[in-house]
Structures are given as C-alpha cells and as structure tokens.
Symmetry: C2
Subunit: 768 residues, 2 copies
C-alpha cells in the first residue's frame, strides 16, 4: 500500500497532544485540532493572529458560495458548483505587550503544548511568551463549541505573568476578511457592524450566493474592563487592557454566537436582529456552565458507544478520535445538513456530500444515533425536488441524486462524473432499506422512504436500456464508484445495485399495499404509479445484465473489462502518485487498474447474497488490481479479508484506518480530515473484526481478533437494545447493557442476548 | 436526411446573385458573399455601416486570439484554446447626404442587387437610395481580394445621382473596433494610427496573443479630393466630399493592404514601417489593373479545372461555387497556413484546422494544385515540434497531431476530443502516402514525409496497448471520427488506420534504405530508430485488433458496439435536432446511433483493400444507423453507394453536397461556410460519380451518371497530365488536354490516355 505514518502527535487514550510547535506541520495540526458541532466548525488555527503558513478556516454547515462557469452548449451539464465557504473568524484576538504583538511566527516562545480533550471537546493551547523587553508571560487559549446549543462557541484566554506585573492590550473581534483558500480572497461583504447591550456584532453576506451569517459575542471577565469599540472594513473589535499581577493567572471569556441564514431574500436587518437576540441570550451563558453541558454530552457518548482496544494504544486513540470527529461533524441536529467529505475541517471537495454519506457514514449512525441516521435520509427527502429536476436535466424520469451536493443540486461541473455516476441514487435506496431494517421505523418508510424509492426506480428505469442483441437490461455509458474505468457499459456495481433497488421497492410496495393500503393509494396517486410500471421494473430486475464469467465465478467489473491491457500496479514507481497529477488524464482509464473495488463493494453491501467461494475468487482477482486511490477502499478490503480468514491481510488493510489523519498517511491531512474515511474505520472494526452483518433479517457476528490486540469491545444500538461485544483472544462476551433482549446470530447459530453476559469461544479459524 | 433547401439566391452558371435585400437573411448572405485569398478573408458585410443584425467579419489566416482557462489539475488537458480573431474593417466607409447617413437598416432603398462573379472574384452590390430630402442616388460597391498579391484588397464605390447634382460626404477608414462575435467585444488594441505619403495606416495588436496587424490604404479618384484626417479610438479615417453630377456616375477606389505579423516579440514600429512600405507599393496599383490580374488568374483555374454539369443548373452553379471557395480559402501560397473548418468566412470552430484537411481537402488539391497539396503537408512538418510536445503531454513518444489547431498546438480544451481522437495523426500519414503516390514527389518523402511518418509511428506504438487476454494490439479509451461513440476500446477506424500507417512507414523505410541509404541513415540517426523498433511495429500491425464478425463480414465499429441498445433513428422527432442542444449530453453516447460512418470511412480511404461484398454488407449495416450530424458524412455514403450500384441513393446523398451553403441546408450558413464540406462535394463528383480511386498504384475510374444529368465532365492533374473525363448518358470520353500520356484503369481494364479522345461506352450497371 506504500503508505507511511508521520508520528507527530503523542499517543494518549483520551487526548490528542502536540508538544512543541513545528510550523512545517502547522496546517496538519490545524486540521487535527478542528472542532465542530454539526452547525459549525473551526480549524485549530491561532486566534491571536499568525503570519506564518496557515489555512485559517471557519465554516458553517450548508453555507456556501457558488462558482458559476460558462453555460455549456450541451444539455445536462451543470455549470454551477457550490462550495462551503470560509467564513467569519469569531475567535479574532490580538495581544500586545510593550508594543509587541504576539505572533507565533515571530515571537519568542517555549513550552508550547496543544491538547484536544475528547472527553469535553475542549482545545487548549499554552506556551510561555518572552517579549523583547524581557517579560515572560504564560498564555493559554481554550475553546470549544457547544454540543447542546448549535450556534454557540466559547473561548477562554488565561494570562499569567511570570516576572512582571502590568497591563496587556487586548483586541477581541469578529473578522469577515479571512481568505477562502482556493479563491485566495474573502468571499464576504460585511453588511453591518455594531455594538449594543454589550454584544459586539457583525453581519456578512456571501458575494454570489447571497447567504448571510451573523456573528456576535460578549466578553466576560471578573476584572472590570474599559472597552474601546473599533470598526475597520470587514473587522470590528473591542480594545481593552487586562491588568496582570505577577505569578497570578487572570482570565477572560468570550461567548460567541454564529447564526447562519440560508434564505437569501430575507431582509438583512431581520437577520441582524435575530442574531443579536441569540447573542444576547446565549452570550449571557457562562463558559464553565456550557463546558459542564459539553462534558455531560461527551460522557454520555463515551459511556454508550466507546470502542475500546486493549494492547494497541495507537488504534485505541485512533478509533476514539474517529468517533469523536464523527459526532462533532454530524449528530442529527438538523435534517437540512449533511456530511461533507472533509466534514467542517477544510475546503477540499468544497464541503460537498457524496454517496459516502449513505454508504459509509449511515451505518455508524444507525448503530449509534438513529435520529442522526434518520435525519440523513430526511435530507435526501428534503432535496428530492432537486433530484427530480436533475433527472429531468438528464432526460430521465424520477429522481437522480447528485454526485456532489450542498443544497441538493448537482454541484459537480465535471460531466463525466455528474452524468455517468449513479451510485448516489442507489445508495439512498440502500440507506432507506438499511435504516428500516435496523430501526424498524416503518412510519418513515411509508411517509417518505417509499416516495424516494419509487422516484429512484423511475430514474433507473428510464436511464437503463435494453440490448436488442443480448436481450438484457443494463446501463450504458456509466462510471461506477471506481472512477478509473470512466465510461463503460454494464458496470457490475451499477447494475447490481439497480437490480436490488427495483426488487426492494417492489417488495416494499407490495407490503405497503397489504399492510398500509392508504399509504399505498397515496403513493400511487401522487406518483401516477401503475401495475404495468411495476411489471416493467420486475422485468428489468430479472433481466439485469450482471457480467459474470461462469467458469471462474469472477464478476467482470464491466463488459470488456477482462480484455483490457493489464498493468502490474506494484511496478508503478511511487513517484508517479498521485496518478492524476503525474499521468496523462486518459492514461489512467485504459487498463485493468482500479481505484476502488466495485465488485467487492456490492459484495460488502449485500454480503449475504454471495457465497464465501464467490467472495474468495473475486477478492483474489480484484485485490491485486486495486490501488486504493480512494481512502474508502482499504476498509472494504479489510472487512472482506476478515470474512475470508485472511486475518493478517485484514489487519494490514486496517492498519491506517483509524489513524489516517493522526498520522497523516495520505500526506494531505493539511487540507482537512478524511471525515468519511473516519466512518469507515468504525465500520472496519465492527463489520471487519467484529464480523457484524446487517444486510439480512438478523444481525450476524463472526468476530475475529487481530493478533496484536489483547481484546477489544464495541457497542451497537439495535432496535433499542444496546448490545456490547467484547472480543478477547479466546472468548467473546455478548450482553446488552440496557437489559433489553435481542436476537442475533453468532458464528451461524441463533442466540438471544440480554443483560446477562453470554460467553462464547472464538473458533480457531477466527483467531487473527 | 430531413434537410430542406432555402431557395434564396438566383441560379446562374457563373454568378451568385441576390435580388432584393432580406434583412432576416443578412447573415447567410454575408457568409455566401465572403471573399478570401488564403491570406485573408472578408464576409460580405455592408462596408458603409449597418445597424441591423450582422456578423461583420474580417479575418487573417493564422491570426488568432487565445482563450486561456483555468489550468486543469489533470495532466495532458490543454487549457489554451486559440481562435481566428475578427480583425480590422479595412473597407470602412460612411456616406452622408444632406446630413443623412446611408444605413440599409434605416434608409429607403430599392433595386437592391448583390452579385458575386466567379470569373473575377468581384463582389458587387448596387441599389437606389432615396434620401428624406427627396434625392435619389444610385450606389454601387465593388470589392475583391487579389489572388496574386496576398495582402491586397480593392474597393470601388460608384455614385450616380438620378435627380440632383451636389456633394456627398464620405468617410473612408480603418476600424479595429468590430466585435468578435463569440466574445462580444473587440479583441484588439490599436497601437498606432497615422497618415503619411498618402497612406492612411493603423496598427492593431491582439490583447492576449500579441499578434499584430497593420492595415493601410490609398484612395484613388479622378476627382481631386480635399481630405480631412480623423482619429477616434480604434478608428481612423479620411473625410472628403465627392461632387456629384446629375445622371453621371462618379467613382473612387481604395487599394488596401493588410499585413499580418505573427511574431509577437517584433517591435511594433518595425511592423508599422514594413506595413507602410507595402501599402505604399501596392496601394499605388490601380483597381482595374489588379482586377485584370484576378480575371486572368480565375480564367486559368476555370480553363483547367472547371467541373461542368449539363442538365442540372443547381448543381452546376453549386460545384463551381465550391471550387471557387476552395481556391479562395487556400491555394498553397504559404505553408504556415491551413484550412479552417469554415475557411475565412466566420468564427465557428475558431478557424481551426482539423483532420478534414488531409482527409477531404487534400484530394482536391492533389488533383488541382499539387503545390497547395504539398504546402498543406509542409504545414504539418512545420508544426511537428508541437505535435511531439503534445505526444509528450499524453505520456507518449513521437508526434500526436492536434484535433484542432491554428499554430500546431492543441487548441481543443475538451479532453475527450483532444486526448482520445487520433485520426489527425493517421490522416497526416495517409496524406503523405496519397501525395507521394499521386505526385511521385519522393524528395518530399525523404526530406520531410519520412520523419513525420516515423514520429507518428512512435506515437501509435506508445499509445497502443496489448491485451493479455486476446494477445492483440489495439487502442483503448479512444474516440474514432464518429464522435457519438465517445470512449471505446479498439475502434475499427483508429486501429485499421494505425495498422496501415505502420505498414506504409515500414515499407517506406525499407525502400529508403535500399534507394536512398543516406536519407535512411540520417533518419535513423536523427530519430534513434533501431531494427527492434521496426520489428515491434510489424508485430503491432500484424496483431492489430480489427473487430470483425466473421459470419456476416460486418466490422464491429468498436468492441461491444453490436451489443449496444438500438435506436431507430428515423423515429427521432425532427425537433430533437441538433441532438447536442436537445438531448442530455451523455444520452447521445449510449446506443448504436453514429454521427458519421467510421467503418465506411476506412473503406473509402483504403478502398481497394476491401471486396465489393465487404463494402456492401457494411454499407447496409451502418447506413441506417448514421445520422450524418457531420456535414462530411453524406459524401462518403454517396461515393460508396455509387460503387455499389445504388445510383439513386448516391444521388440522394449527393443532392445537397454542392449547395450545402447556397441553399442553407444545415440552417447555420449564417455562421460561415462549410468549407471542408465544399471539398467533399468535389470528392463526391470525382470519386463518387466519376468512380475515381487513387489509393492504389494506378488511377481507376468506374464512372456512372445520375439519371437527372445529361452529361458532366471534370479534369484531374495526374503526374503532370491533365486528364479530362466527360461522362455522357451512354459513353465517356477520356483525354489529356495537355497531350501527355497517362495510364489508367477504366471499368477494370488498362488504358493509356493521351491527347486523342478515347470513347468508352457506359456499361448498363453504371447508368444511374
């Protein structure tokens, strides 16, 4: 796999710690120390200003700018890209002592330490500052975002003079001028600034999309402060002095509100007054009070859903960091929000959500936070009108979900992806099926899920075509999830997932007709669905072309794939990576190398549809052809390798899953965290080593344990029961921690698990 | 085919005539009345100014602007498009009578007549102008471009007052402000303007590319004129009065020089002085003197290469118009120039040259003007360095000729075309072969042709790949000339033409080794060519994958083509055309519909490699699948239909070839003429009805005659002999008009043709 760890951060079970500051590593650290609370996110940048290299990012979920390019002369090609826009610096601070401004790129400092506490979500940074005038001051910045009150962020600055007493000049402000990295300029106009009732406020509006953000804050300090209020272009701040007393720590706090308004026609004055009201209300909260709420929130999370690993400190810290970041990025607060490929931690992929949401993130929430899982599906329901419009742009009926999106519209302006990849639509269908199966939430299915399923089927039925020669139904001119086979006919993944979507939808419709005739009638009426159409879908599903070489049992990724020139991927020089930068664009697409394994992917998703032998031959065929240029690819390999008893290989593929970012394996963590890969790490432990399968009528477990681990345990929420699985070298203990009974299958045998621990030996072949 | 004729222009044997002016048809007429002399072109716009709808175009061959878009993150994708830029209006004129400016959009006129004389190349426009003050003035504008002196254009304005005597105010100037249509602005800066030695001059420079154009003119008038010189932004002009005498015609002439400088680092002062010198020299020429030269030039052309058709006035005018426009567009003056898809008559396709040059235009010149044919190939030799660089961009060795170009670099920024279509490279190789075969010019082959051939083979050898499963060599991820099958493997055309290129190059190398060892040694040394490489090429040619269904003899256009969903193209509603505007982009690419016939195309080019039966089954299979969205497609069908004895069908496919633009069949003549299709019309008569074949060792003829024609005749230059073929209903007469003997094959029998007429009966099966 040719990936190497940077060992920069300290390995601790509940913290991420940086000791000493390496400016070369500054952007990576900013990413790693990102905070988020679903509503907003802020990178771990230095709020006191920093003249060195940085990506000073502050983002709001769903607040975007547009990039509108020349309208294509061709139909169905989107010319409007949207991207999550770097917004207001609500932590803006400047410290000046004896006329010298603190700036870690220039100031003399020592004892630098930055620390993210995963039990509270607090990021702390401390160091000693030596001024040119010989003064020595201990400085500590703390910040966190409230997990309870979405718009609220807190900051505490503690100052402790070591060798002097005196005054320090402080500026605490709101700044809309930070540049959006990829555009190299600020994309905000500042509409209004002001101070009233102790709230300093500022209102910005994006230049193209016209969305608005209000930021406001209060300063809380035991020491009475004498403020000067200053406005400067897109920045406004309070200036004040803090009296310092030698050897004694003094602190002041900021409680800030950031309020986003997506409705672009709303009167800015109204946004200002709404924001001001919230800032008044939440701004009055005390730092310690909000912190206590956060501690309780995280305590609850860890008590219920921690994954513990004994005997592997690296992965222990890694998996906790993954779980921590997942909850920070999304926890189901709002069904108008989704999960960008980099969460709220950077600009890459423009904050857009992809099929990763349903494919990789949804399982995590299904078993940890079903409300969040449901809200992710509600997001797709809310954006169904956009998906219907998109299908129309593609000359099809029904709904085609976008390959990349912020607001439900197609944000990908590369036609080859936007017009040829359909895995988002089948992923939504899969997500509905998965959600309903695990939660039993039929109400959602009847009210919303069914409508999406039917619309997706409409799309699949009109986008597909019959070959008159083979008599088969299939998809021509498509790209599967594997983006290295660009424009092919009858991609196995696309066709198989379409087949399953038709079948599930038909099943659900027939069940609905029987069980909920009024819901069925409503859908029929609303969508003009007739029996002939259902027959059509049946025929399509039944005659779906799934290229398979009978003799070997190997699925052909697409028609003609087996005839492609072969590349020995191990012979590609490491300096050729990433290939997109070093190989001519078309060169990537004309051989049997794959970026991620389409065939293995559908065998993972519909795991129980395939025999072990089938998985084995396909794994053995495709694994050597896959270069894993998608960060999601190794986990799928790891999960299947576990199932196939290739435990060593499973562990090798897992080896950097939990620490992808902590150890900067892909050398691009500086751009932001691989948020959706973080979800895959959890999947890798629970589905891979834990051997859980959730695609059938019952949860299955076939746990194995990596040789290097002493034990590991995880918990999953399943129809209200919290099931704990603790896997040791020789035995496994199953129980539910909330005493509810649940039926599961372990190593092929049925069990009913309750509050009492059930101990089962690990069979020889499952020991890693 | 669903194309309909606009019958707007009068049908005359030697003229194109418009009687009465229809503003709705203004842009079409501007295109039709375009003049060109290879060096420059000017649309038939109204030089006196026109406030109605127009495309006021004036172009210089090879003078372009650049459109540089954001650099792609992917390798090998060009981000620099070049396009022939609308330049100086050197005909700028304004006429003012009693304060009223002549403007055909507003003025009251009658008896409008516009006339293009194909025996002189003069465009004349006359009408009666009625002023608001009741005056009546006959106005006549004439213009032509010198076919002898590339930079020279002439204009004559004749004024004849019907009912008054008096003065008319005239402005005659140079204007760099006309907008470039697609950009909606002028793309020129005016660097210098001035008047000296009776020459009014102006120097412009393109804003991005930095190329320069000097324009200068002299006014010649029997009447002594009193000039005022005026400069205004990008316009400068002479203002003067002309005295008018009732009932008497008065005229004045302008002789203008337009001098283009492609060297962007040249000192503008130097360009100015060079231009001024030329303007002084040529400007002194008299209008009638230059006109006489033109008349002689055209006389020579028509005497030698006219195609005459008895019994079909429409096609008679049409084919003469085609021949006229071909010579106007290109006649081999300069090997730094090429032939844009629309010649010098409009902005569509940006003036770029395509593979059409070697495939459709070259045969016309081969048999009419071998110097021009050679210069077209010299152009490819001159731009070999750019083609080598382009191959490097695509991670290949050798030379890859661009899909669209002005200066030899790839000007197409759509990667799917620029990176996947290789017909330009094999077309250059084919062109070299064709040229050498017809002219016998081996010197060119040894000096330049061979080097191009070897470099093209280097490219073909490194772009192709071996399939380990089939053991065959081929091209993966390509688009053939048929752009409706976008990204396929082993396109028949690509592979077959590559095979022929390898074979021809190997033959030429072995012949050179034997006959010209020093030339061989030089090539070997220059290009580092070794025997192993030649063996490689042999193996590639021998094992080239050419998909063929043995049972039927039908070539499969590419692997998997036969399995594609079928579309009945006749069932597509006419309102869906053009498909690119009305169908989702990807929808076009996923069925068996083709835009142009790749298989028939290589059967046309290498005609004698295929049996009649093979042509028959392939014609019958592909013809119903082709929608001819390329204007070049019908001619290929017509030629093969003639060969297959489908004479009625051949004539139907031919029916709009000669009058594509005169009758505006494609409804887009307003954008400019279909210059490369014009060449195909000639090919259609000579290769189609004339049944000439030039791909073997000897010229063959199998003439047929359309039922509607009484007779037709054409002439071809073949190894210095001018062979005339006159086909009548029952007999054909062959002779050479310059008395040289030449050997040809007629209906399969060998003949030697000389100055004496040989009469041969038309066999029954060849009568249309």
């Amino acid at each position: 796999m040719g990936k190497f760890a940077d060992k920069y951060f300290k390995v601790c079970p509940w913290e991420v710690v940086e000791e000493g500051f390496d400016p070369e590593y500054g952007r990576v650290s900013e990413s790693i120390f990102s905070l988020g609370n679903e509503y907003m996110g802020v990178r771990g940048y230095f709020e006191e200003g920093y003249s060195g290299d940085k990506l000073q990012g502050s983002y709001l979920n769903g607040i975007y700018e547009e990039n509108i390019t020349e309208k294509s002369a061709y139909k169905g090609i989107s010319n409007r890209g949207t991207f999550m826009v770097n917004g207001v610096d609500w932590l803006y601070t400047r410290l000046e002592l004896d006329g010298e401004e603190l700036d870690l790129a220039r100031s003399k400092i020592s004892s630098f330490k930055r620390r993210l506490d995963m039990k509270t979500g607090v990021l702390t940074r401390e160091f000693l500052w030596y001024t040119k005038t010989g003064k020595e001051l201990r400085v500590e910045f703390s910040r966190f975002l409230s997990m309870i009150t979405p718009r609220l962020g807190c900051q505490r600055i503690t100052l402790e003079p070591v060798n002097f007493s005196g005054k320090i000049a402080v500026k605490a402000g709101l700044d809309f001028s930070p540049i959006h990295e990829t555009m190299q300029r600020s994309l905000w106009d500042c509409l209004k600034q002001g101070i009233s009732d102790g709230v300093t406020g500022s209102l910005g509006r994006t230049k193209s999309s016209g969305q608005m953000v209000y930021a406001g804050f209060k300063i809380q300090s035991k020491q009475p402060l004498d403020y000067t209020y200053v406005e400067k272009d897109k920045l406004n701040y309070l200036g004040f002095d803090i009296a310092l007393d030698k050897g004694k720590g003094t602190c002041f706090d900021r409680t800030a509100v950031v309020h986003a308004e997506k409705n672009t026609v709303k009167n800015p004055e109204k946004v200002w007054s709404e924001g001001s009201e919230l800032a008044n209300l939440y701004g009055a909260k005390k730092y310690d009070e909000v912190l206590a709420e956060n501690r309780a929130y995280w305590n609850d999370i860890w008590n219920t859903f921690d994954v513990s690993i004994e005997g592997d400190d690296d992965n222990q810290q890694g998996i906790r960091y993954c779980i921590f970041q997942m909850h920070q990025t999304y926890h189901g607060e709002d069904s108008d929000m989704n999960i960008g490929a980099k969460g709220l931690t950077g600009e890459a992929y423009g904050g857009n959500a992809f099929w990763d949401t349903e494919t990789y993130c949804l399982p995590f929430y299904l078993f940890n936070n079903p409300k969040a899982a449901r809200n992710l599906l509600e997001y797709r329901y809310n954006t169904l009108p956009q998906a219907i419009e998109r299908a129309g742009d593609l000359d099809c009926d029904g709904a085609c979900y976008p390959i990349a999106t912020l607001d439900g519209t197609e944000s990908c302006t590369l036609w080859q992806h936007a017009s040829l990849q359909f895995q988002p639509s089948t992923a939504v269908a899969y997500g509905i099926r998965h959600y309903v199966k695990i939660t039993g939430d039929k109400a959602f299915l009847y009210e919303k899920g069914l409508e999406m399923l039917v619309q997706i089927c409409h799309f699949l039925a009109t986008r597909g075509q019959w070959s008159s020669r083979t008599g088969k139904f299939g998809y021509y001119g498509v790209m599967g999830p594997d983006e290295f086979q660009m424009m092919v006919n009858n991609n196995c993944y696309t066709n198989f997932m379409a087949k399953k979507t038709f079948e599930y939808t038909i099943d659900v419709l027939s069940e609905t007709k029987a069980v909920k005739p009024e819901a069925y009638a409503q859908i029929q009426k609303k969508l003009g669905l007739d029996e002939a159409e259902l027959d059509n879908w049946s025929r399509m599903a039944e005659n779906m072309r799934i290229p398979l070489e009978e003799a070997t049992g190997i699925y052909e990724q697409h028609e003609g794939y087996f005839d492609l020139p072969h590349i020995d991927i191990k012979a590609i020089p490491v300096t050729d990576f990433p290939l997109y930068h070093n190989w001519s664009y078309d060169r990537i697409y004309r051989n049997d190398m794959i970026k991620q394994p389409d065939v293995l992917m559908f065998m993972f998703l519909h795991n129980q549809d395939f025999s072990c032998q089938s998985k084995k031959v396909n794994y053995e065929f495709y694994e050597p052809r896959c270069i894993h240029e998608s960060s999601l690819s190794p986990s799928v390999h790891s999960v299947l390798a576990s199932e196939l008893g290739r435990h060593r290989e499973a562990f090798d593929f897992f080896s950097f899953a939990t620490r992808m970012d902590l150890d900067n394996y892909n050398r691009n963590t500086r751009e932001g965290l691989h948020t959706t890969s973080i979800a895959a790490a959890w999947v890798n432990i629970v589905y891979g080593f834990g051997g859980m399968r959730s695609d059938g009528e019952m949860l299955l477990f076939n746990p194995s344990i990596p040789a290097a681990w002493k034990s590991y345990s995880f918990r999953v929420l399943y129809r209200n029961a919290v099931l704990e699985v603790k896997v040791m070298k020789e035995t496994i203990i199953f129980k539910t921690i909330n005493s509810l009974e649940t039926k599961i299958k372990i190593y092929g045998k049925d069990y009913s698990i309750g509050g009492e621990a059930l101990e089962i030996p690990v069979p020889e072949e499952w020991r890693g």
